[in-house]
Amino acid sequence: MCLGIPGQIIQVTDTARKLGIVEIGGVRRTINLACIVDQDHAIGTCVGAWVLVHVGFAMNRIDPQEAQRTLDLLREMGDLQKEIASIEPTDTKTSEGTGEIR
C-alpha cells in the first residue's frame, strides 16, 4: 500500500519550504519535512533524526527505543522458542532443496 523506507536526515536546506536532505543506504535526496515539524519539534531537531520516507516526504520519525524494544522482544521470543523446540519434536515439513512444498 505504501512503500516506506527508513533514512537519516543529514541537513536542513530550506526552512521556509521545510526541505532537507535524507540519506538512505548511501543515496541522498531532498525531501519534504512538513510532517515531522511543529511547535514542539523545530526544524533544527530534524538533523540526525531517522525518519520513514514515502514519496519524497519524511512521514514520521522512527523511535530508536521502540525499535530496540521490538528487537529485544524478538530475541526473547527466539530464546523461548528454542526451549519449547527442545522439549517437543517439531513437525514442520519445510522442504530440503526440492522437497515437497505446499
Partner: protein, 340 residues
C-alpha cells in the same frame, strides 16, 4: 571549422568526406581503415588459424544521457558488442560503427564520443574497420545513435551453448548487480538522487580469456544487459529446459544500489548491467572458476550463486535467507518507481 553537425555533413559530398577523414577516421586510426574502399577485407586463411567458426553480432545504442558516471555511449557501443562476442568464447577482432547524427549535434560532443570509442577499442585490442554516417533533421533522432557489429573467431575447443547445461552445474556471476541500470536512471536527473554509483561498463574478453586459459569449460555464458540477471537466467533455463535454483543471499549487491532500489521499490536482480556475465560450469570446476574471476580486476566480487536441477523444467527459483523459495520471473516491461 564546423561547430555543429549540419545537413551538409550527410550530403555525401565534401563536407561528409571531411567529417569522416578529420573527425571519425582520426579517432579510430588503424591500418584496415586506411584502405579507401566501401568495406573492410580480411584473409579467411589467417582467421582460420585462430578457430573454426566466426562469431558475428550487432547491437544498437541509444542511451540517454550520452555521458554518465562510469562511461558514455561510445564506450558502451564498443564494450557491449565486444562482450556479446566474448561470451561465445571468441576472441573479438573487428567492429563496424554506424552513426546516426542529429542535425545540430555539437562537433565537440561527437569528437568526445568517438575518442572514447577509439580508446575502448584500443584497450580491448579490437579495431573499428568500417562504418557509415548519416545525418537526420533536428528532432528525428536524440543527438546520436550508434550501432556496432562485431566479428571474432571461436577456437574449435569452445562449444558454449545454453542447451548443453547439465544438472548440478554451478551458476556464477562476476560481481555486483545493477550498477549500470542505477547509474543511468540517476544520471537522467528526474529522480533527483545523489549517489556515487557508477556504470560497470567494461570489456569482459580478458576475464573470459583468463577462465578459458585455466581450462574452465563453461556450458553456458551470457552477458547480463537489459532485464538483468533475471532475464538471462530465464533464457538459460528455457534453452536448457532445466531448473536453475539461485540462493538470493549469495548475490552481491552494492550497498548504494540496494538503497536506490529500496527507495524506488526496484529489485536489483532486474536492473541492467554492462560489465557482468553469468556462466554455468561443471560442479567440480566451480571453485576454480571463482578463484580465477576473483583474481581478475573485473571479477573481485564474483560469487557462486546457485546450481541447476532437473525439475521443475524451464524455471528459475530464488531461495531467500528465510528458507522460503519463489519463482524468479522475467519482468514484462521495465521497472518503474512504485509507491505500493
Amino acid at each position: 571549422r564546423d561547430t555543429v553537425i549540419t545537413q551538409a555533413h550527410g550530403g555525401g559530398g565534401k563536407a561528409m568526406r571531411d567529417l569522416i577523414d578529420d573527425v571519425i577516421r582520426s579517432a579510430f586510426d588503424n591500418p584496415n581503415l586506411q584502405i579507401q574502399e566501401d568495406q573492410a577485407r580480411f584473409s579467411l586463411a589467417e582467421m582460420a588459424l585462430h578457430g573454426d567458426r566466426l562469431a558475428f553480432t550487432t547491437d544498437g545504442y541509444v542511451v540517454s544521457p550520452l555521458f554518465f558516471p562510469g562511461g558514455d555511449i561510445g564506450k558502451l557501443a564498443v564494450n557491449g558488442t565486444i562482450n556479446d562476442l566474448a561470451v561465445s568464447g571468441a576472441r573479438p577482432l573487428y567492429l563496424s560503427c554506424s552513426l546516426i547524427l542529429e542535425e545540430g549535434l555539437p562537433m565537440d560532443t561527437l569528437r568526445e564520443i568517438l575518442a572514447s570509442m577509439g580508446q575502448a577499442a584500443r584497450q580491448a585490442g579490437v579495431q573499428i574497420v568500417t562504418g557509415d554516417t548519416k545525418v537526420v533533421p533536428r528532432g528525428a533522432a536524440d543527438k546520436i545513435f550508434i550501432s556496432t557489429a562485431g566479428i571474432g573467431v571461436i577456437p574449435a575447443s569452445q562449444q558454449i551453448a545454453a542447451h548443453q547445461l547439465q544438472p548440478n552445474d554451478a551458476i556464477l556471476i562476476n560481481g555486483y548487480l545493477g550498477d549500470h541500470g542505477a547509474a543511468i536512471l540517476i544520471a537522467r536527473g528526474e529522480l533527483q538522487l545523489e549517489t556515487t554509483i557508477e556504470s560497470d561498463c567494461a570489456p569482459l574478453h580478458g576475464l573470459i580469456a583468463a577462465l578459458l586459459d585455466a581450462k574452465i569449460t563453461p556450458r553456458a555464458m551470457r552477458d547480463l544487459t537489459r532485464g538483468g540477471l533475471a532475464a538471462t537466467l530465464n533464457e538459460i533455463a528455457q534453452a536448457s529446459n532445466l531448473h536453475i535454483a539461485i540462493d538470493a543471499t549469495k548475490i552481491p549487491i552494492r550497498p548504494e544500489v540496494q538503497g536506490f532500489c529500496e527507495i524506488l521499490g526496484f529489485d536489483p536482480i532486474h536492473l541492467a548491467n554492462e560489465g557482468k556475465l553469468a556462466l554455468a560450469v561443471p560442479a567440480e570446476q566451480a571453485q576454480t572458476a571463482l578463484a580465477v574471476m576473483r583474481a581478475h580486476p573485473l571479477g573481485q566480487h564474483a560469487a557462486i550463486i546457485g546450481s541447476c536441477r532437473p525439475e521443475p523444467k524451464g524455471i528459475v527459483t530464488l531461495q531467500n535467507g528465510f528458507g522460503g523459495e519463489r519463482i524468479l520471473a522475467m519482468l514484462v516491461g521495465e521497472q518503474l518507481p512504485r509507491i505500493c
